[in-house]
């Protein structure tokens, strides 16, 4: 171990961090046990007074080699494991995985299942964004209150998930070629009620935060991300769109039945934390629009493709990369099949992990307190970052 607390790997080039420590920079290890690192995430920060001069993220505290597990279980057996990637958005994780396997094996999905998937994915987006706003404010020192309001609304959506799939967070709901259980009229009535009541909450929440001087001072012009860097660094999701790049897979790929819905893509202008925060509030309004359309149009019919076998599912030899617009960004699954019962290669493209690529660029020159805000606005979940 070197004097600065970093381990030298044999053969590895000298690390940028301890190669150029000069003067009186102080190294601080932020995390992994820190409430605002959203899990077990560590940043090695070199500080000049209170200003960040270098920042290296350290991952792996939650690493369980998800991909290896996926290569050792059956295709179906990986489905419940995907819930545990980004444990806030198990429905979209399920969808991304199901979509990739459907691409790999050429499976059609019935109409009603597609609608159910859209409804659940948009509900997931709502509850992910709403809890992110709560957490972000919590990181900024608004302890408790906004997070409590956010979790109150999230709770209602989780109850919907529970009554449909049986579990609040580990839904394990989607299957290759459809969904597991059908939703009855009661469920739709309850969901509609929650969707109808949601704008009132959003109005109130925006009133709470949008014009708040403290929030503006903490977030505007903090952590600016230029569009060029965002594109080159593979940033996706709300973070990319906050920098003004119009790239939403729901429009670009039009996977599932998204081309049928009318919705707009909110775009940011400055790419700072405030934009990232407000963009999510705007996205929730668009999600509500999609939800209202889907609830109105959902047809009756089967929810599973009858051709898909439950036991001993074996896709043909080949490879496929499927991706969806998850609440945190582009969530992709890359699968290689050798014709066996489990994938030869099972790879997750985790949006929160890749979005952290630019964390150092965003934080340089800001104070330690801003690091927490910037990290919060990136929206990470360690279950997905470390896999």
């Amino acid at each position: 171990m070197s004097a600065t607390g970093f381990h030298e790997l044999e053969g590895a080039p000298p690390k940028a961090m301890n190669a150029r420590i000069e003067g009186d920079l102080m190294e601080v290890s932020m995390g992994p046990q820190h409430p605002s690192t959203h899990g077990v995430f560590r940043m090695n920060v070199a500080l000049d007074g209170e200003v960040v001069r270098k920042l290296k993220p350290v991952f792996g505290y939650l690493h369980r080699n998800h991909e290896k597990i996926g290569e050792n279980t059956s295709y179906l057996g990986s489905m419940p494991y995907t819930d545990r990637l980004d444990y806030f958005c198990s429905m979209t994780n399920n969808w991304a995985y199901a979509l990739s396997v459907e691409k790999l094996a050429g499976i059609e999905v019935p109409e009603r299942a597609e609608y159910l998937r859209v409804i659940l994915a948009e509900l997931t987006r709502l509850q992910n964004h709403v809890s992110l706003l709560g957490f972000l404010l919590s990181d900024m020192g608004a302890w408790g209150t906004p997070l409590m309001y956010a979790f109150r609304e999230r709770e209602k959506i989780l109850d919907l998930f529970e009554s449909l799939s049986g579990s609040r967070m580990m839904c394990d709901y989607m299957r290759f070629g459809g969904c597991r259980v059908d939703a009855g009229p009661d469920w739709f009535a309850r969901a509609q009620k929650i969707i109808d009541a949601f704008p009132r909450f959003l109005d109130e929440f925006e009133e709470l935060i949008v014009s708040n001087e403290i929030l503006i001072a903490r977030t505007q012009n903090v952590g600016k991300l230029s569009a060029e860097l965002a594109i080159n660094a593979g940033i996706t999701g709300p973070m990319l769109r906050a920098s003004g790049v119009n790239y939403d897979l729901r429009k670009v790929d039009g996977y599932g039945i998204y081309p049928r819905f009318k919705f707009r893509i909110p775009l940011g202008d400055h790419g700072d934390c405030y934009d990232r925060l407000m963009l999510r509030a705007l996205e929730m309004r668009e999600s509500l629009g999609i939800l209202n359309q889907a609830m109105k149009e959902i047809p009756a019919g089967p929810i599973m493709n009858p051709k898909v076998k439950v036991r001993a599912f074996k896709p043909p030899i080949g490879e496929a990369y499927g991706r969806i617009e998850g609440p945190k960004g582009e969530l992709g699954f890359y699968l290689i099949s050798d014709g066996g019962a489990s994938p030869y290669r099972y790879r997750v493209r985790p949006p929160s992990f890749i979005n952290l690529t630019v964390l150092e660029d965003l934080c340089l020159g800001h104070t330690v307190a801003d690091v927490m805000v910037i990290l919060g606005s990136v929206d990470i979940v360690m279950g997905e970052v470390d896999r």
Binding site: F6, H7, E8, L9, G11, A12, P13, K15, A16, F59, G60, H63, N65, E67, K68, K103, L104, A105, G106, L229, I231, N232, A233, G234, I235, T236, V245, Y247, V252, P315, P316, I317, G318, E319, A320, Y321, G322, R323, E330, G332, Y334, I336, S337, Y344, R345, R347, R349, F353, I354, L356, T357, V358, D386, R387
Partner: protein
């Protein structure tokens, strides 16, 4: 978007000397890929990123794949002289495919909204020759993902600005995503090991009577 054959032809014209091969994909997804040679991979990647008709500026997914040494035995009919008479005899021949590690990049265009174009690179072998040129200078998004490949597969990326382990700890020695990886005996660390884990852990550590079997004590108290 142009077809993969066109892209290949144009890339080969733009980068003199580049050898590009098309790797077919038989599955229903139909995502064939371009196999780049090490020497010109960076130049071809730059061409793919900057060409106005392609503009593949979004390198979405970078990952490694491990292909083990394979032996495929085939039944071949061979003419042989058996007992003075020429006969056709079936003989099994073994064909040997050496293993290699592979890095796969999925490229999309954010500007022109098309994709995917899949490119891949293969290492010479799975041991000393596990080296590839890094494409991080072309796409920054490959930075962490190439580090992850280095960590889990052991491919060294030449030209990567900060190549160290990312998910495993720095002292870790093996590459866990390789197909022939065997986990160490004390892999499942438990503060109070039991059953098989206890047996395995005993081989590695000196026995700790005050801890080993602690679960049985609590069970007896109940």
């Amino acid at each position: 978007m142009q077809s993969l054959d066109e892209i290949k032809a144009r890339a080969e014209a733009a980068v003199p000397g580049a050898k590009i091969e098309i790797v077919p994909n038989p599955g229903p997804a139909n995502q064939p890929s371009l196999l780049l040679d090490h020497e010109h991979a960076g130049a071809v990647a730059l061409f793919l990123r900057d060409d106005p008709a392609l503009k593949l500026d979004h390198c979405s997914n970078v990952t490694g794949v491990d292909w083990l040494d394979r032996k495929v035995s085939k039944k071949v009919k061979v003419k042989k002289v058996v007992d003075g008479a020429e006969k056709e005899v079936e003989e099994s021949q073994e064909e040997f495919f050496p293993g290699y590690l592979e890095a796969v990049y999925h490229l999309f265009s954010m500007t022109l909204k098309h994709g995917p174009v899949v490119i891949r690179m293969r290492t010479a072998d799975r041991a000393q020759g596990a080296q590839l040129p890094s494409l991080t200078p072309v796409w920054r998004s490959a930075e962490f993902q190439e580090r992850e490949i280095f960590d889990l597969y052991g491919i060294k990326f030449d030209g990567h600005p900060d190549l160290r382990r990312i998910l495993m700890w720095d002292e870790f020695e093996d590459f866990p995503m390789r197909k022939d990886y065997r986990e160490p005996d004390d892999y499942e660390y438990e503060p109070t090991p039991h059953d098989e884990v206890l047996e395995k852990a005993k081989q590695h550590y000196t026995p700790r009577p005050q801890l080993d079997g602690a679960e049985n004590l609590t069970a007896a108290q109940q």
